[in-house]
């Protein structure tokens, strides 16, 4: 647990919860990123303005972060382009079919005490842990 950063995790997590609560109090919407982003895809998707604004705010955060001493670090991505594309397709299709992602189900849904969201969260965290275990440690664990 050498990399455990509980303080920054708690502060960051509290801000994420605050953002979700504020969005519900002001717009009545769920702060699920896959839903917000997914609603922008398609020709006559309704309700575009606040979705675009949310995503602009999301991208502005790390840019303003550079002014406060948070370096803009290029994310570590899989070496294989095929893995990047397959993972992206699965994340897009899966979150759309399942009706949410880490934010919509994992945070907003569980905070609403929704059994659906709790089930989805247990499944995607569990499956992702199995995938990482197989990739990093082989089938034998």
């Amino acid at each position: 647990m050498a990399n455990f950063t509980p303080l920054s995790a708690a502060i960051g997590g509290a801000l994420i919860g605050l953002a979700a609560a504020l969005l519900m109090l002001t717009t009545g919407r769920i702060a699920g990123i896959s839903g917000i982003f997914g609603g922008l895809i398609g020709w006559n998707a309704p309700d575009r303005d606040w979705r675009i604004a949310f995503i602009v705010g999301l991208i502005l955060a790390p840019l303003t972060g550079t002014l406060m001493g948070y370096a803009l670090v290029e994310p570590q991505m899989p070496a294989s382009w095929a893995v990047i594309i397959i993972a992206g397709l699965l994340v897009g299709f899966g979150t759309r079919l399942g009706g949410g992602c880490t934010s919509g189900h994992g945070i907003c849904g569980v905070a609403r005490l929704s059994p659906r969201s709790l089930a989805a969260t247990v499944i995607f965290v569990g499956v992702a842990m199995v995938v990482v275990a197989v990739l990093r440690h082989g089938l034998g664990g």
């Binding site: 604004a53 955060a61 994310p75 759309r96 079919l97 945070i107 569980v110 199995v130």
Partner: protein, 148 residues
């Protein structure tokens, strides 16, 4: 006003991901790697977000939102096949990359070519799902007639 609220909430959400380190796929994968050098930070992020978000939702639930006619509170309660299959497919993609939609979109700020390709693939996955759903709805009356 709806757009202004969206902008501010997206900005606060983005700062939460930034401060917590969850913009970094390596940090997320360290949480998912329970047999390696396990990093439980994501669990703390979730717990803090649930504490603040849960309290906020308890306040928001019975109220009218400030800038909208009503709360768009999800009504579904059933744990059905699309939920289970969708969460499973998402879990595979998340485990392969360490990226879920929020950090993926926020990382567009880095202009990383690999990340941009990931987000395009994610958008195509969403578009493929939506096209498939439209096709199913369009094909449904024919399927119903086939039996009769």
């Amino acid at each position: 006003m709806l757009a202004l609220a969206g902008l501010i909430c997206g900005f606060v959400f983005g700062w939460g991901l930034l401060i917590s380190g969850m913009m970094q796929p390596a940090k997320v994968l360290a949480f998912l790697d329970v047999f390696g050098a396990w990093d439980p930070s994501l669990l703390v992020v979730m717990a803090a977000a649930l504490a603040v978000g849960g309290a906020g939702y308890a306040v928001a639930r019975p109220r009218m939102p400030l800038f909208a006619a009503r709360n768009l509170w999800p009504e579904k309660t059933m744990i059905d096949a699309p939920l289970v299959i969708g969460a499973t497919l998402f879990g595979v993609g998340w485990g392969l990359s360490g990226l879920c939609p929020g950090p993926a979109i926020e990382n567009l700020a880095t202009l990383s070519p690999r990340l941009i390709v990931f987000v395009i693939a994610m958008a195509l996955g969403i578009a493929a799902h939506d096209a498939w759903q439209r096709w199913r709805v369009a094909a449904a009356p024919l399927a119903a007639n086939a039996d009769g």
